[in-house]
Subunit: 345 residues, 2 copies
Amino acid sequence: MKKEIVSVIGSGNWGSVIGKIVAENALRYPDLFEAEIRQWVFEEDFNGQRLTDIINLEHENPKYLPGIRFPNNLRALPDLIQASQGATLLVFVLPHQFVREVCEKIKPGISSGARAISLIKGLEITPDHVTLFSEEISRKLNIRVACLSGANIADEVAQKRFCETTIGSQNREDGLLFQKLFDTDYFKVNVIRDHVGVELCGALKNVVAVGAGISDGLGYGSNTKAAIIRLGLMEMRKFGQTFFGTVEDTTFFESCGVADLITTCSGGRNRKVAEAFVKTKKPIDVLEKELLRGQKLQGTLTAHEVYEFLSPRQMTHEFPLFTTVYRIIYENQPVESIVRDITLQ
Amino acid sequence: MKKEIVSVIGSGNWGSVIGKIVAENALRYPDLFEAEIRQWVFEEDFNGQRLTDIINLEHENPKYLPGIRFPNNLRALPDLIQASQGATLLVFVLPHQFVREVCEKIKPGISSGARAISLIKGLEITPDHVTLFSEEISRKLNIRVACLSGANIADEVAQKRFCETTIGSQNREDGLLFQKLFDTDYFKVNVIRDHVGVELCGALKNVVAVGAGISDGLGYGSNTKAAIIRLGLMEMRKFGQTFFGTVEDTTFFESCGVADLITTCSGGRNRKVAEAFVKTKKPIDVLEKELLRGQKLQGTLTAHEVYEFLSPRQMTHEFPLFTTVYRIIYENQPVESIVRDITLQ
């Protein structure tokens, strides 16, 4: 059997954790995977040194994952072509805005029978269409693409705190192979078929977290927050089942569903900024500058996109929580409507 | 149409909140319900006055729900027979140890076509059998009995903080009638058929909360806690579906399922005492004396009963979280096993 040649595309905080896990598992299954794991690292200067040099010499990424040692078989490469040439398994773990360009560049070099897995967060929602990044990669590279999402705060995974995650793979064999690549005793992988549901959860949860944060800002307590989380989970499910026929109920019981939603609504920047939105009465773009150094908040952005998608279909009233979050943030609707308007009439 | 005559049996913290809601809704639907709502109040002395006198004069229960005003049509009665005579709808909201005795006493006086709803928390689990209190009441009184459970911290409901709850009723008409009795704009009632699932959730969630508290005591963070909550929800479902064929997947998406589990694992005494168990290394019975004034902790008790039920069936390994919680609390198994031993091998 030919061994799989694995490339990890991306090296931020989550990408660094994933690179480490993948490199450890490559050593654990020497019959399945080539030992060397190449990781594409966007080159940066770090204290006068090149980040890739530091990673390769010190086996640590001091910028995005300080204090965590990588195994020696993880090799950082600043050149995308070099990092992916001949790869049979591709792990995409980078911000979504780079996906298309990366695919164009690596396409000629990857193995013809390659498969990929997407750990990219978010969706691309336009008024016309919802694009899953796993499907976008699949179209661009003409290969099968699975996805992975779960209740996985990167730093906690890096510290080997027990958690679970979900792989969605239409192809059962691919799913089991990726399970071997990612599963450890502290990072438990469940494989399901419903890749669409897995990926939807990862994006829509952030809208719910904005709702939970608004409730926290109003001091509404645990009952209310639990109700918002539950109603949010039900709208995530309805969104999936309305616009993608294949989404299954049981997906929402997986780590990518209920568990990730719980962590996102407990901590997390979406919840936090929404809480500040209520308490400070400042607009979201101001809070983004103050609290996120100008980065866009994912949950409000997704709420906006979802609204623009539902609106021409005359379906905003069928998703009262998503719609209420949008109206509170962008249309000055009173924050108290987070509890008044979120149940189906 | 004959109006329903409603009796509320019980008047603790939750019973007082429920009495208030029921009395308000009786006025809201004068065609459906007799205005006067009788509530059986276990007579106590409060600052030299009888508690029932205070409730009837001041329209407040200063002992169990201070600061919340009751509507004038709620009448407190110290005599159980007087409080239930001729009732057509009975609301049971009292500690489970009194249920059987109460049923014996009220049976001769209630209306022949009466129906009941149980808000009693907990189950009775012996090595032979799992008894639901709704079914026990049904057997004792020979009437149909529904149940109600949800993410409903009593004080938050009393303050009209928005939340949801679930009614489980095999009989659809009964379910809709009880919905009218309980539903308000801040206390949203969903009615489902699966009364067994509703009642199981209300008891088994406490075992999961002990697991979550152990994880908190160890400082394991949000990923781990979300994983424990998710695995717990799956064991609750499996317990229901293994021992009661009728339990449905979707029940766990209701307020009685995922939402109540979230609140119980966030705040709540079970979580808190379990956290103290890890941090102080004191046995549970000592902590019960110190933190609960000698009251028994529900979650550890239920973990014990569940273990005694699973053990003769050789099924403890099929419920690794429930079993691990039991072993940590009662068999000195290391607390760290809360993450090592809770996934199916």
